[in-house]
Amino acid sequence: MRYLIRHDTEYRYTQPATLEHTSAHLQPRAAPRQTCRQHRLEIQPPPLSMTQRLDFFGNPVSIFTIEGPHDRLLVTGHSLVDVEARPPMIDGMSQPWEPLRQALRTDVSPEGLDAYQFTFDSPLSAGSRELRPYVEQSFSPGRPIFDAARELTSRIHADFAFDPKATDVSTPVSQVFAERRGVCQDFAHLMIACLRTLGLPARYVSGYLRTEPPPGQPRLIGADASHAWVSVYCTGMGWLDLDPTNDCVVDTDHVTVAWGRDYGDVTPVKGLIVGGGQHTVEARVDIVPEGDATTVAT
């Protein structure tokens, strides 16, 4: 599947901002089933300086500075991304979760060491006692890890209401869990916290969901904006992505931008300004399969 993606983030300030430092995670990263063919970042007004590099997790990040009075900042990422279909799951591939957890403790292979860090609490997604009974319902002794995680995905989807008004970017997992409502970011943080409560490696994935569903299928929640889901490390099978907001295993409808311990590591656009007064921010995402536009036209 090849996608053409345009992601606008627009800030407006009530008073002119005189200096602005911004960091952006907008370029889709390299991933096992994904290749970013092209990426271009447009910034208005143009920045004085810009650095691009890979962050600790291997995500491309751009850091730029804008000087001089401006009352609007528009950051647009244009990307062309290929996503391959997920290989089919074979019954019996997934192993019980406890030995996997144990093996990871002494695994110093680069992949094992990398996965191990995601078993620990992070600022926005920490394991807790309160979550233990909830997660243990799915993670019964000896159960294969993928089955358990897949069921947890479904249970979060069933038990929690999608409610954009209930939370904001700083709502803690404990509140989401108590009030049983939130958005994709909250569900991802909650599920990661559940897995970390058991000492299992789980990471936060920031990305996109295709805007228009294939013919005959319902439109998914989280399109037209940044989306977020969860990746679980299953030794032998690698990282498997699960989307608790849509109760599905991630396949070709999702495009990965970046991953980290939680939202804080991979925030799409964040910054600091001098001046500027109050500000508003608006984000728009368009993601269309390449060729769709021409299909419609002919």
Partner: protein
């Protein structure tokens, strides 16, 4: 002067000295014989006798008070600026013992440097399982954005500190490693200056190693980190600000080492380089000695909620354009969970056995250690495995069975988050109390700086340290946060001591610099407001004295006729715009008037009260502490001292009047010092501008309240006005007649030779703004120059007689109009000045991009 003959074997001072059983006794051995390093000290104290010691000690306390040596205790209402606690008896350490300790400390410093360099670089320790990955990945002080950054010279740790304790067998142990921004070195230096001053002969006779050379080497090695090849690298000391517990020390060290004291708001990153915002523009910064915890240093890449950081600092460090000491991320190994691995790491990385052991520590992330800890909980102290975790230490011995169960469960759930340690038995040293020596437990913090040694990396150990003693005899808790005290530490020198002062160590000639171009904008801003608040407090004092004098002199409850007008002026000065005061009531009711006045004088929380102004003066003074002289600082502190409230007498006019009289002295001293002892550079100009703006503004308000509507008893009102504006004498020397409106208006408003007139203030303001840095190539006047010239012109064109004349409605409308226009122009001038020079708006977060969250629900965190 020769010492008196040696006293008896057991000098009287320590005859009653009962050391704590089970603890090492620093001063004497088990047989009661004095240890050699202490002999001279004990003899000397014995000879001096309690009275002389008390006398000297009082002198030292006064120095501490007057020098403003303070330590801020968090969450304590009395906490801000608590005087530093210092015991007069230094801790004595012999030369040989120190030599061993010094070698061991250097080894440990080198080891920690090697470990942190690996963890942020090649990371072999994790890949080879020399160190469990948990200690890095679960550690909140592992700063991922800093991975891969090689600091200048590859040096992560320029200054390290170690907390040492001595066990009952006399062996030193390390209790804490401080690798990120160790505090206390400045207090140690201040302690030394005070104690050597009260015990000068003893200090000289026993041969104490000097501290100055250590600081000189630290300073030189920090300057040498500069990535820019320059003869004069710009080093700043980054402080979290006056609310930090050790702010005194930040200002003190900055001044002592010749660094610029900077808060985050003073610095800015442009094109991946760091600059100081000064009045003259942006000045490049080469080296940052930071006292801000590393995770707070860059809100862009580290903690986004930090208001103490400089956006872009991590990138600037990564680009190699600035040296940060200690490097961002160094907090990683400031954790006790690393301690159990140090002996093996020392053998592996340095090829040496670890010379200085750590206190026995078990990290629960390992199965064997976890088992041991769970079995021995009652004997152990349980702590968080990572520094920065809010969990306070838990003493197993103090827990009930149920609490132990609960703790066991918690540890078993997330074992990697806990370490257990043996309780440390601290040794005891004598403190001076109730005319004698008494044993107290203590811990010694020592400092190691990375320095150049003939072109190679070496280390220097401060010959001394900061000893912190427990508050009570049986307490093992030594923390300045929990009320403990401190001690100077004297390391006896193996060879004759050569005098060395930091000022003499300059090897290169210092270029002559006249104007303080490096004046940070924030400092100029504080100077401006310091001037305004001192003047505001002084004006208020004049007004309150005039009112109180009338209250005490008059027998009639209504007071003199001009009193009502003075109350009007008072309410203009202090009334909150939201809560107007009914001055009629005050005039009529003596008791109500006194209550109101007491509020205006003493209520710190009341709007523009005298106490709140004096508080603000203190606060601003502490911000510019490194820019004003010690004497000026003392004077500022006396202002608060004069206002000390006596609750029983707060409604007694005589008492309040006495307080105000006491205030007059420091006000006068401050005015004199700032004019005569401060260089009239940019900092002084802002201070003076603040005073002038405030004084002109007060005169305008008073004239409005007292003159625009003429009073039937005008001469008395005029007298009152002349007295509050300190122009009574000038008036009498010029006019040998009863007081009249026209000459009064001329004297207070238009007379450019009266230092208390509005016109005089405007003249001085004009002089000051013309001398500030600006674009000299521009022939045009700046907006603030134009504003002040326009005010001055309006006064020069005014006719005193016309201003004094009343219109048919009985008002002085012309005067009213002129005062109104001045009353609007003065704040406008102040704003212009602010926006041109002083704006140092803290950057604020543009928040996170929302996902599906509504746009208006984002949290703005600062």
């Amino acid at each position: 002067m020769s010492l008196p003959p040696p006293a008896a074997v057991s000098p009287s001072l320590i005859r009653g000295y009962a050391p704590q059983p089970g603890a090492y006794n620093e001063i004497a051995d088990a047989g009661g014989r004095l240890r050699p390093a202490w002999e001279s000290l004990v003899r000397r104290f014995d000879t001096l006798g309690p009275d002389a010691i008390r006398e000297r000690w009082t002198a030292a306390q006064r120095v501490i008070q007057e020098n403003g040596v303070t330590y801020n205790v968090y969450g304590d209402p009395r906490g801000m600026h608590r005087p530093w606690e210092l015991d007069p008896v230094p801790l004595m350490l012999g030369a040989e013992e120190w030599a061993d300790l010094q070698a061991a400390l250097i080894q440990r410093a080198r080891l920690l440097e090697t470990i942190v360099g690996d963890l942020y670089g090649p990371n072999r320790l994790l890949k080879n399982r020399d160190l469990p990955a948990d200690l890095v990945y679960a550690n909140p002080n592992f700063l991922r954005p800093c991975v891969g950054i090689t600091p200048p010279r590859g040096r992560f740790l320029s200054l390290q500190a170690f907390d040492l304790a001595r066990n009952p067998e006399g062996k030193w142990w390390v209790v804490n490693d401080r690798t990120q921004a160790p505090s206390g070195a400045g207090y140690a230096l201040e302690n030394r200056l005070i104690i050597s001053r009260i015990l000068p002969d003893l200090f000289r006779d026993v041969g104490v190693s000097r501290l100055a050379r250590f600081f000189a080497r630290l300073r030189d090695s920090l300057a040498a980190l500069s990535p820019r090849a320059t003869a004069d690298p710009h080093v700043v000391l980054l402080t979290p600000g006056p609310h930090n517990e050790t702010y005194f020390e930040h200002a003190y060290l900055a001044r002592y080492l010749g660094f610029t004291l900077a808060e985050a708001g003073d610095l800015t990153v442009r094109d991946e380089a760091v600059f100081l915002k000064t009045l003259g523009g942006l000045e490049p910064v080469d080296v940052i000695l930071r006292r801000t915890d590393d995770s707070f240093c860059d809100p862009l890449e580290l903690r986004g909620d930090s208001a103490l950081g400089v956006a872009g600092l991590v990138r600037a460090a990564a680009a190699g354009n600035v040296a940060i000491a200690n490097a961002l991320g160094s907090g990683l190994i400031e954790t006790q969970s690393v301690m159990p691995f140090l002996p093996a790491l020392s053998r592996q990385l340095l090829g040496e056995d670890l010379k200085l052991p750590s206190v026995a520590t078990w990290w629960c992330g390992q199965p064997g250690e976890l088992g041991y800890v769970l079995d021995h909980l009652p004997e152990l102290v349980i702590k968080s495995a990572f520094s920065g975790d809010p969990m306070p230490p838990v003493f197993g011995s103090s827990l009930s069975a149920a609490q132990l169960d609960e703790l066991q469960q918690r540890i078993a759930e997330q074992p990697h988050r806990y370490v257990a340690q043996e309780s440390v038995a601290l040794s005891t040293a004598p403190v001076w109390q109730d005319a004698g020596f008494h044993p107290r437990h203590f811990m010694l913090r020592v400092y190691v700086a990375a320095v150049d040694e003939g072109g190679r990396d070496g280390y220097a150990v401060m010959p001394g340290g900061l000893a912190r003693v427990s508050a009570a005899q049986d307490s093992m808790v030594v923390s300045m946060q929990y009320g403990g005290g401190s001690k100077d530490t004297w390391v006896l020198s193996p060879e004759p001591v050569s005098p060395f002062s930091l000022l003499q160590s300059e090897s290169r000639p210092t270029p002559v610099v006249r104007a303080g171009h490096r004046l940070p904008s924030r400092v100029a801003d504080s100077m401006f407001w310091l001037g305004r608040y001192v003047e505001r407090a002084e004006n208020l004092t004049h007004l309150l004295r005039a009112i109180l004098l009338r209250l005490t002199e008059e027998t009639s409850p209504c007071g003199s006729p001009e009193q009502a007008r003075l109350f009007d002026a008072l309410s203009l000065d202090t009334g909150s715009p939201h809560e107007p005061v009914d001055t009629g009531d005050l005039f009529a009711d003596h008791a109500a008037a006194m209550r109101h006045i007491a509020g205006v004088v003493f209520e710190v929380d009341a709007y523009n009260s005298l106490a709140s102004c004096v508080d603000r003066v203190q606060e601003l003074g502490s911000i510019v502490r490194d820019r004003i002289s010690l004497d000026t600082w003392r004077v500022l502190r006396q202002m608060r001292g004069a206002l000390r409230e006596d609750a029983a007498h707060r409604l007694d006019p005589t008492h309040v009047l006495t307080c105000l009289d006491h205030l007059a002295v420091p006000f006068a001293a401050f005015a004199g010092l700032s004019n005569e002892s401060m260089t009239h550079g940019h900092g002084w100009r802002f201070l003076d501008l603040g005073r002038r703006v405030e004084r002109a503004f007060a005169l305008v308000r008073w004239m409005k309240a007292l003159l625009v509507e003429p009073d039937p008893n005008e001469p008395m009102v005029l007298n009152a006005l002349l007295s509050v504006s300190s122009s009574e004498m000038t008036y009498r020397s010029r006019y040998r007649m009863s007081v009249q409106a026209m000459p009064t208006i001329d004297l207070l408003l238009l007379d450019e030779s009266n230092p208390r007139s509005v016109a005089f203030q405007l003249l001085k303001m004009e002089e000051n703004v013309s001398a500030l840095p600006g674009d000299r190539s521009e022939a045009r006047r700046t907006p603030e120059q134009r504003e002040v010239l326009s005010m001055l012109a309006s006064l020069r064109l005014a006719d005193a007689e016309a201003l004094a004349r009343t219109d048919p409605a009985g008002r002085r409308a012309k005067l009213g109009a002129l005062l109104d226009s001045l009353g609007a122009a003065l704040p406008a001038f102040s704003d212009l000045l602010n926006s041109r020079y002083l704006i140092h708006a803290q950057p604020h977060q543009t928040s996170f991009q929302p996902l599906e969250t509504p746009l208006n629900s984002e949290e703005e965190t600062l």
